[in-house]
Every structure is written in C-alpha cells, then in structure tokens.
C-alpha cells in the first residue's frame, strides 16, 4: 500500500514537472491573447466579460505554478532554458496572480464610471484591457526569469504598457504622472543596463552567450569576478532598479503615478510591480554577493531602506488624498523590504516574504476602496477623505482594514513581519539600524492611524453621496482580504526555520 502511494506521488510529481513548461506558456499566452481579443469585442460589456473570463484562467494557471514551486521547497521545482520555478518564483507568482485577478475584476467597476479617458469612449475598454493584460503578463513572467538580462528586458517592457495605464484618464495631471514615470524609469533602467553589460564583460569567456547572465552562472563565477568592476556594475544595477522599485531618493514618479492611475492599476503597480522588481534586485544581490562581500551590498540595501522610510514617514502625517497617502505608504513598505533583504538573516527573510504578501493584500484593498470612495464623493480624488463613516460605512470599513493593516496594527501580518525584520537586523548585529527603523515605523504607524481617524470621523458635517454599485464588491473584498490577512499572520508563525526560508536564502542559485 505504502509502495503504491509512493509510486502514485512520484508519478504525480513527474507529471507536474513535465507540465511546468506548458503551464508557464499558457499562463503567459492567455493574458497576451486576451490583450488582442478584447479589440474584437463588439461592446464594452463584452470586453468586460472576456477580461473576467481570461483573468480567471490566468490566475488559476499562475496559482497552480505557485503551488508546484512552493511544494517543492527547498528544491527548485523546474528549470528551463530561460525560466526557473523556485520558491521565490512561487511566492511572487502567487502575489501577482491574486492582485492581478482582483484588479481585473475591479476594472469593470472602475471603467463603468471612468468618464473621459485618453481614448474615445467606444475603444477605451479595449485599450485599457489590452494594456492591462500585457502589463500583467510581463509581471507574471518576471519572477520566472532565470537570467539578469531577460529580467531587465521584461522590466523595461512593462514600462510602456503601464505608462499608458497610468495616464489612462487623459487628464493633465495623469499625463504629467505618466510622463514622469516613463522618462524616469527608462533612464533608471538605462543605468541598470550599463551595469548588466559590465557584468557580462566581467564574467568573460567562462560562460557562453546569454547563459553568462543566468542566476546560477553568475553565482558560480562570482568568486572569480573582478571586485572593483563588479561593485561598480552592482551599484549601477541597484540604482537603476531602485528607480523602478521607487526607493528614495529615486522615487519621484511613485506618488504621482500611484495617485493618478486608475485604482486597479495603482494596486497592480504597488502590490505587484514594485515587489517583483525588488525580487530581481534580491536575486542579483544573492548572485553577486560572493564577488562583493556582504558588507558593501548590505550597506546599499540598508541605505535605500532607511532613506525610503525617512522620506515617506513625514508624508504619512500630512492630510493627503486617499490614493496619494497609499502611495507614500508604498514607499515606506518598499523601504522595510529593502531593510529585510539587507539584513539577510533567515528571520529577516521570513519577515520579507510575509511583508510582501501582507502588503499586497492590504494595499490592493486600499486602492480598490478608492473606486467607491471617489464615486461617492469625487472631491476625494484631490482632497483628503473626511467623515466617511457618515457617508458610507462599508467604504469606511474597507479603509480601516486596509490602513490599520498597512500601519502594522496587530493582528496584521505586517506587524509580525516588521518585528521579524527588526529582530533579524539585531541578529545581524545591526542594533542601531534596527532601532532607527523601529522608531520610524512607530512614527509611520501613528501617522497612518491619525490620517485614518481623520478620514473616518473628521471634517465636513454634510457630504455629497452618490450610490455606487462597487460598494457591494468592496464589502465582499474586505471580508476576503481580512480573512486572507489573518491567514498570512498564521503562516508567519510557522515560516521561520521552514524549507521555504531555506530556499529563499539562495533564490535563483
């Protein structure tokens, strides 16, 4: 009986491994096909329905891959000519799949009342969904990329589609945000590309062609790389990627793009794009660390982390429009993730994973809440939200779940992850950095709590109220997100010391 069960498991495992290649192709082909097919839809409603169907399929395929990847921990589930399906891929695929699906579903609510856009009313749904699906496909491919150069090409490709989405409303402010995002991130990625060419040269003739820049090849040859040129290249790559992650001081596009983009796109930018690019920075760190020594690499990550916290925290205290407040919160949380990766201890890395998952759920919910919020009171697009409990208890509940989770109020998983990261920093012997970060996070918590209470109970006595059908969707999403957040908190207690963390300590290699 036991032999039969073992044989069944082995054959199942072999089937899954054999199916990984086709599954990956399908997970990327479905959204890319959807991007083309939406143009053929006769009505905006048909485009909505097609997008919902294809996004359900895409998310299911991506989640299946994520399960295969995480179940194989601490081993790599599958490796192909250009892709790797390891635990890190699995975690990030799951995040991108969940946020992508939720954003696709919420897009119909946004588009129903979007009003004017860059495109004519007849074609606006098709253009939106085309750009959305291309952007999502690139985000799904990014965690799978087993090569620094391919990862760069994917990140750069994401810029064009996402810039169009940022400026989708066609308003002057949205054009400004989209333009800033396009120009700054393209220049940043040019800097990163210079670093990649230098790494390619440094690896020399030890590797062949494109394979020289594979994560495994880089890690294998890292000890032989010239220190000075590799350090120079790493700084260029990290600074370039930082401009896309939105780390201070190269974050100027982030608050503008997040606040001006349609809310489902803001969710995808903040909860999926930023962490996924951060994964590439993380994989580059792990691959090149032997050539550079951990000290220099650690200082760079910690520098970006503390700078991001220092820049973000004062804005969390200011009366900002809802989406702009969430944007500065993204800057804060990318800073926390930089610290966690910089500390690099198993506990800190466990905290990073929990932080990415918790941040994605809470931040995406926050941005989706902007749909009914701005529908019920359009002034909240440009001014701070006030007295929401009096106008819409459902929206107020969603705002509370999102912002208290992001602030790190227990039992939010972000409370647990921040504690894990700070303790990880102490384990790494960086008591001073951990202490400064703890103080900044406490100030951030108070700032967000203050902003939320003002938004819920403060301000105007009378408020304009317009009923929005998206409120029902937000009520459902709030319940799901709250349960999922509690689930992530529960996982956080089991994660340290697990095979998953062991695998993440050597992601890609």
């Amino acid at each position: 009986m036991a032999r039969l069960a073992r044989a069944t498991l082995t054959s199942c495992g072999r089937f899954v491994t054999d199916a990984v290649g086709p599954l990956i192709i399908a997970a990327l082909a479905v959204p890319l096909s959807a991007a083309l097919l939406v143009a053929l839809m006769p009505t905006p409603g048909a485009a909505d329905r097609l997008n919902l169907a294809t996004s359900t399929l895409t998310a299911a395929l991506a989640l299946a891959l994520a399960v295969v990847a995480i179940a194989a921990a601490p081993d790599v589930a599958s490796r192909g000519s250009w892709y790797v399906l390891d635990v890190a891929s699995g975690v990030f695929l799951a995040v991108v799949a969940v946020v992508g699906f939720a954003s696709a579903a919420m897009s119909a609510f946004y588009l129903r009342h979007a009003g004017r856009s860059w495109f004519t009313a007849r074609h606006s749904h098709a253009w939106y969904y085309a750009a959305f699906n291309v952007f999502w496909a690139v985000l799904l491919a990014l965690p799978l990329a087993d090569n620094l150069a391919i990862a760069w090409l994917l990140i750069e490709a994401s810029t064009a589609a996402s810039a169009m989405l940022v400026a989708f409303s066609g308003k002057r402010s949205a054009l400004e945000a989209g333009w800033k995002y396009l120009v700054l991130t393209t220049l940043g990625l040019s800097i990163a590309l210079l670093g990649i060419v230098v790494v390619y040269v440094a690896v020399g003739l030890d590797g062949s062609g494109l394979g020289r820049l594979g994560w495994q090849a880089l890690a294998q040859h890292a000890n032989e790389l010239p220190h000075e040129a590799t350090l120079f290249a790493f700084v260029l790559i990290l600074v370039g990627l930082a401009s896309k992650i939105g780390w201070a001081p190269v974050h100027n596009w982030l608050p503008d793009a997040h606040s001006e983009a349609p809310p489902p796109v803001s969710a995808l930018l903040s909860a999926a794009l930023l962490p996924t690019v951060l994964l590439i920075a993380w994989r580059t760190k792990l691959a090149l660390e032997p050539a550079l020594g951990s000290g220099a690499v650690q200082k760079l990550f910690i520098g970006f982390g503390l700078a991001s916290l220092l820049v973000a925290i004062p804005f969390l205290w200011r009366p900002l429009p809802w989406k702009r407040l969430l944007a500065y919160s993204s800057l804060e949380h990318m800073g926390v993730l930089a610290l966690g990766i910089g500390f690099g201890t198993p506990l800190a890395i466990a905290g990073v994973v929990i932080h990415i998952a918790g941040h994605a759920l809470a931040k995406a919910l926050g941005f989706y809440t902007a749909i009914p919020l701005m529908r019920e009171d359009p002034r909240t697009a440009d001014t701070p939200a006030r007295g929401i409990t009096r106008t819409s208890p459902t929206t107020a509940t969603a705002m509370s779940v999102s912002l208290f989770s992001l602030a790190g109020l227990p039992p939010s998983p972000l409370f647990v992850s921040e504690v894990m990261i700070l303790l990880g920093g102490m384990q790494a012997g960086l008591l001073g950095v951990s202490s400064i970060a703890a103080v900044l996070l406490a100030l951030g918590f108070l700032g967000l709590a203050h902003s939320l209470l003002e938004g819920l109970f403060g301000g105007r006595k009378s408020a304009h109220r317009r009923r929005s059908r998206s409120v029902q969707a937000i009520a459902l999403l709030t319940g799901i997100a709250a349960l999922a957040l509690l689930g992530v908190t529960a996982i956080a207690y089991a994660l340290p010391g697990s095979d998953i963390v062991e695998a993440l300590m050597r992601s890609g290699a």
Binding site: T159, A160, L194, V201, D256, F315
Partner: protein, 205 residues
C-alpha cells in the same frame, strides 16, 4: 573604435544639449546613431549574422526612430519657441562638469578600450542631463536616445559583442518606449497646447 568616431559621438551628444530647435536635435541624434551603426557594421565584417543584426539596429536607431520623432514634431507645432530654463553657456558648463565627473570616476570596466568606456558613460550622463535640463517633451525623448546610444557604444565594444537576444530585445523595448513617448508628446501637446513639460506641474506635495 576609432578616436575620431568616439569624439564625434560625444560632440553630437553635447550639441543635442545646446541646440534650441527640435528638428536639429533630432538630426543630431540620428547622426549619432548613424556613426554608431557604421562602427558596428565595420566591427561585424565577416560575420553575416552579426552584420545583419547591426544593420537592423542601424536602420531602426538612425532612420525609423528619428522618422517617428520627426512625424511627432510635425503633428505638434509649437506656437512659440520654448525658452530654455538656462542659457547655452550654463548648459554647456553643467553638461561638461557632469560628463567629466562621470567619466573620471569609473573604474576600468574590462572592455580593453578605455576611450569607449569613458565615452559610453559620458553619453549616458549627457542623456540624463538633457532630460533634466531641457523642457520640451521631444527633447527629453532625444535625451533618452542619447543615453541609450551610450549603452549601445559599450555593447558594440564588448569583445565578441552581446548575444542577439539582448541586442534585439533592447531594440524592441526602445521602440516600444519611444512609440509610447511619442504618443504622450502628442497628447500633452493636445492638452496644454505645447510640448513644454514645465507646464505640467500640478502634482506637488
């Protein structure tokens, strides 16, 4: 690469920083891409596949993209010449300072062609400086192209060249970005009546 070609590339980059007219700046960037393309073709002589890739890149960088930007410029006529935020002398001094600091501070990159390494970093820095100091949207796109030309200079100086996947992938991404940037330029012009990005200053905290 010959010293004359490297000098020409850097001088053309400086000229983009200094000229006022978008049409002349587009021609200068096209000429820069042409110099790079011819150099790449001569380096690829005897290797048909490399030669073909270099020819495709030359056509796209030196002909197709400048043509797209010329088309965009004609569709977005400026009602008045956008006055630069700084004088020619200030721009020249700032650009020279940025380029000298950047080129002087880089360690040997391992190409075995130090002038090409310096020129590549100089062009990247010039491109960034152009984006920061020039107001018209189209000139900012040209700044991106100058920076990308710097990367391409480094790429063709790599012994054996870069893999085709990277060279063509970068070209594909560049076409995507410039096409979207051209669409933005047109839209911004339609919205504010000018391609002057200084008129887009609503988003401040």
């Amino acid at each position: 690469m010959s010293p004359a070609a490297i000098t020409a590339l850097v001088v053309l980059g400086f000229a983009v920083m200094l000229v006022r007219r978008r049409s002349i700046a587009t021609l200068l960037v096209s000429a820069q891409a042409m110099v790079l393309g011819v150099a790449a073709l001569s380096l690829a002589r005897g290797r048909p596949a490399d030669f073909l890739v270099a020819a495709i890149i030359l056509l796209v960088r030196a002909v197709a993209l400048p043509a797209l930007l010329t088309f965009t410029r004609r569709r977005t006529p400026e009602p008045y010449l956008v006055i630069p935020a700084t004088t020619v002398l200030v721009r020249l001094v700032l650009a020279a300072t940025v380029v000298l600091i950047a080129a002087a501070s880089i360690p040997p990159l391992g190409l075995g062609d130090r002038p090409a390494e310096h020129a590549a970093v100089a062009l990247l820095s010039l491109g960034i400086a152009i984006v920061i100091m020039r107001r018209p949207a189209l000139l900012q796109v040209l700044g991106i192209l100058v920076a990308e030309n710097g990367i391409y200079l480094l790429a063709i100086s790599v012994p054996g060249g870069l893999p085709f996947v990277i060279e063509l992938g970068v070209l594909f991404d560049l076409v995507l970005v410039v096409t979207v940037a051209a669409a933005f330029t047109h839209k911004i012009h339609g919205e504010v009546g000018s391609g002057d990005t200084d008129l887009l200053r609503a988003l401040r905290d």
